[in-house]
Amino acid sequence: MRRISGAGLRRSAAVVLQILPLIAMGAAALVFAPRLGPTMATHWSGFAMEPDGYGSTWMSFWISAAIAAAVTAIAVAVVLMGSASRETRKMASAATLIGAFPSTVWIVLAGTTADAGSPESADLGARLGFLVIPFLVATVVFLLFPVIPETEDEVLSAAQGVPEPLESLAPNERLVWSRTITSPLLVAIAVVLVASAVALGVAAARSADAGLWTTCATLTFVALSVLALSPARLTIDRFGVRLRSGAFGIPLIRIPLSDIDVVSAETIEPVQWGGWGYRFSGRGRAYVIRRGSGVVVHRAGGSVVAVTVRDAEEAAAAANALRERSRVQQGS
């Protein structure tokens, strides 16, 4: 069922490239650390050899790393989950560029001070040329990103609409449809966020800057929110349709059988449902972790709830069969 396609390989290669600047930044920090003091040169005016601006070495490291990690996470998300369109490709390479910049800048600045021996004697010189690297990375990501003309897109040709209820559901037959929904990417993002939060916590404990604690708390909250979304389990049974967080067990969606009008299997376009994650949009509530098949529950009140899941057709058919039978049994 899961196959590795050429497009998948290209996306994976792009992701490896996207995270390289962050890894390089960590490596550079380790290499330069013995030669770096608490401050480093951060600004030069015109073609002056002498720097005229200085900043805290490790504070700038953590802030640059946090920004780079956050933007790179978004860029990776776009590459892995975005549709194979020209628009997504542009978005992916732009986000890659913005994500690669803070790490590259920090590596260049730290390297300049480290090689000079002291911040005051740091001479940027030709190192400025290294700033072309983010553009190169973004360009290669642009070239790697697979673009498929819409008509050939397999996902779009997925079955649409309301599937026939499962045949012959006997009056006393018991049925459950259950599936875990995992996004390796969301898990990876959560891990990066937790790591950044811990790093910021360490930095905050060492410095007097109260702002760092706020950032740390915010990052922790975001990390836990991402973890709550993946993995999750979609269950369709005599109680109705339920989506529950695997990590914390909290219910994300709960629709009683009697509240269901009909369930359809559709192709979920994240853009049309307000993006990825747990969304509220004009169209309705949605749990979206990728673009592709999903179930859309049309509730009795007219509202709509969507969940991206594989085998959506079977899930929808199971829900409709259960709903149909409960209607017959209730005589409504």
């Binding site: 037959e173 018991r174 459950v176 449809w177 599936r179 079977e314």
Partner: protein, 118 residues
């Protein structure tokens, strides 16, 4: 993963659960590394006793399909060999075919048992 329990089946409820999970794994509906619902949740969904589900999980563990661990629940560790998988598929197809021909699973089981002796 779809589980349907029928009263007309000659198999016990635990056997039906374990066979259908096994089939779901062999079809790739449940991937290796994926978790199964907790026995408590599955029992509630199917309106059966939790020990019935635990019995089904236990037989799946013995068959090497899942691993059971305290706290982590049931995790799929391996599917059946391709040969066994083909048999499972064929049996599922045969049951459906028999149903269309008006042969109940119970009768079908009788037919299969009859073949054993020949």
């Amino acid at each position: 993963m779809l589980i349907r329990l029928s009263d007309g089946s000659p198999a016990s409820i635990a056997e039906q659960i374990s066979f259908q999970i096994r089939l779901a794994v062999s079809r790739g509906d449940v991937a290796v590394g994926e978790k199964l619902p907790s026995a408590r949740d599955l029992a509630a969904s199917l309106d059966v006793n939790m020990h019935t589900v635990l019995r089904a999980y236990d037989s799946l563990r013995e068959a090497g399909v899942i691993a059971l661990s305290r706290g982590r629940g049931a995790t799929v560790v391996g599917g059946d060999e391709p040969g066994v998988r083909d048999v499972l598929e064929a049996v599922a197809a045969m049951v459906a075919e028999a149903a269309r021909a008006g042969i109940s699973p119970r009768e079908l089981a009788g037919i299969v048992k009859g073949m054993e002796t020949t």
